[in-house]
Amino acid sequence: MIVIVDYGIGNLASVLNMFKKIGTKEVVVSGDKETIAKASKLLLPGVGAFDGGMNNLEQTGLIPVLNEKALKEKVPVLGICLGMQLLSKRSEEGVKPGLGWIDAETVKFDLDPALKLKVPHMGWDYVRVKRKNPLIEMDSKSRFYFVHSYHVKCLDENQSLATSNFGVDFTCMVNKDNIFGTQFHPEKSLKFGMKLLENFAKL
């Protein structure tokens, strides 16, 4: 059973809809500790600010069971957008520590003023996959929908799975063992996102 973690934020409906569209039978949205404890895979969505996200995770009391599932049991986990940023150790956007499941920190875009780019990075963009992995093909021509003002910087480069460019190259997918994250929204990325979620469901 894939559990889409409901901790009070994120496009839960959209994620569930896409799993349904691709025919995933065993998927549910839940914020209940028992249900999460029995999950075979976890999906951590998220939209909004870092501290807001960590606050919600704390207040729902889900962090212990999530740590258990991700770090001890090592079930496949996919963090999306803010969900991916929460996997990191900390963020420049807030003061709270992150889950720390990946060796990374979340930082603001440091844009060259000459490029005249403004945050957020919003819209469709291509990604460059760095190594073979079960979620997305190496020479992927896939494009995905991004909307974010902060990005994850891997302290261990091996955990950076794919990059995109917004003035600078930045990590848009992370992976450490069973933990995956996408900065973009697969649930809003048409057939490209469907393929990625299909691959996640098959893990």
Partner: protein, 251 residues
């Protein structure tokens, strides 16, 4: 670098999709769910759906119907029309709407917009400015509910961006709506200079050339299309369609 976006903007009258000309004479063009399924196949960048009668008829958004629509949209989906309370916003985001478009609410209750932006983030709120050229003088914000908006277009846009903190502005030309005559590039250009947030051009698109001009010469961040997405050609029959992006979007 994020690609420029082309966004079908669908007008909904509470029952079905319609298309207007200069905001008048709505003509039926089809069922919204069917249309959204087609746009999904055609891989549109985003979708905007506006219930053009909700505020006027003092109706709430039809949440059940909107949930069905959002369920078929596997790309970012923006909804506007009749949104009045914080709970309305919350409900829409919960059922799968990415962005809520506000229009008359800006004059009626800007505090609710601020609260929503604080809670859900700027990217979740788009402010739509309809604008029109009056009998005398230059183009001004237009309120179809009859209220007078005492700001110039750029002042209004600055207010929306800086005071209310909305994530994007949709700029909709009443005069060009449904005319296939091209966007009002002059006004769009002025607005792009006045605000730092993305601007979605809307009203008048009639050709791929119009899209290239507004996106790559005027430099709008996104272009909304109306007639071009629902009619096969100017003056011809209904056909829900989407152009070949690669003929416009520079990668």
């Amino acid at each position: 670098m994020a690609l420029k976006r082309i966004i079908p903007c669908l007008l909904y009258d509470g029952n079905g999709l319609v298309k207007t000309v200069k905001f008048k004479n709505p003509s039926y063009v089809g069922d919204p769910i069917n249309a959204i399924k087609i746009f999904n196949e055609k891989e549109v960048d985003e979708l905007i759906l506006i219930d053009i009668n909700a505020s006027r008829q003092k109706r709430k958004p039809n949440f059940d119907k909107i949930a069905d629509m959002a369920g078929e949209a596997f790309m970012p989906f923006a909804y506007g029309g009749g949104v009045k309370t914080f709970e309305d916003f919350a409900k829409l985001y919960k059922i799968g709407v990415e962005k809520v478009v506000v229009n008359s609410l800006v004059q009626e209750d800007p505090g609710v917009i601020k609260k929503t932006v604080e809670h859900y983030g700027a990217q979740a709120v788009v402010a739509c400015i309809d604008f029109k050229k009056p009998l005398f003088g230059s183009k001004i914000p237009y309120s179809y509910l009859g209220k007078k908006i005492n700001y110039s277009l750029t002042e209004y846009a600055e207010y929306l961006a800086k005071d209310l903190g909305v994530g994007e502005i949709m700029l909709y030309s009443v005069d060009r709506d449904g005319t296939w005559e091209g966007y009002d590039n002059e006004v769009i250009g002025q607005l792009l200079n006045a605000v730092e947030i993305p601007v979605i051009a809307c009203g008048g698109c009639g050709s791929l050339e119009d899209l290239k001009t507004v996106l790559y010469e005027t430099n709008a961040n996104a272009a909304a299309i109306g007639s071009m997405a629902v009619y096969s050609k100017k003056g011809m029959g209904v056909l829900i369609n989407f152009l070949n992006r690669s003929q416009v979007i520079i990668e």
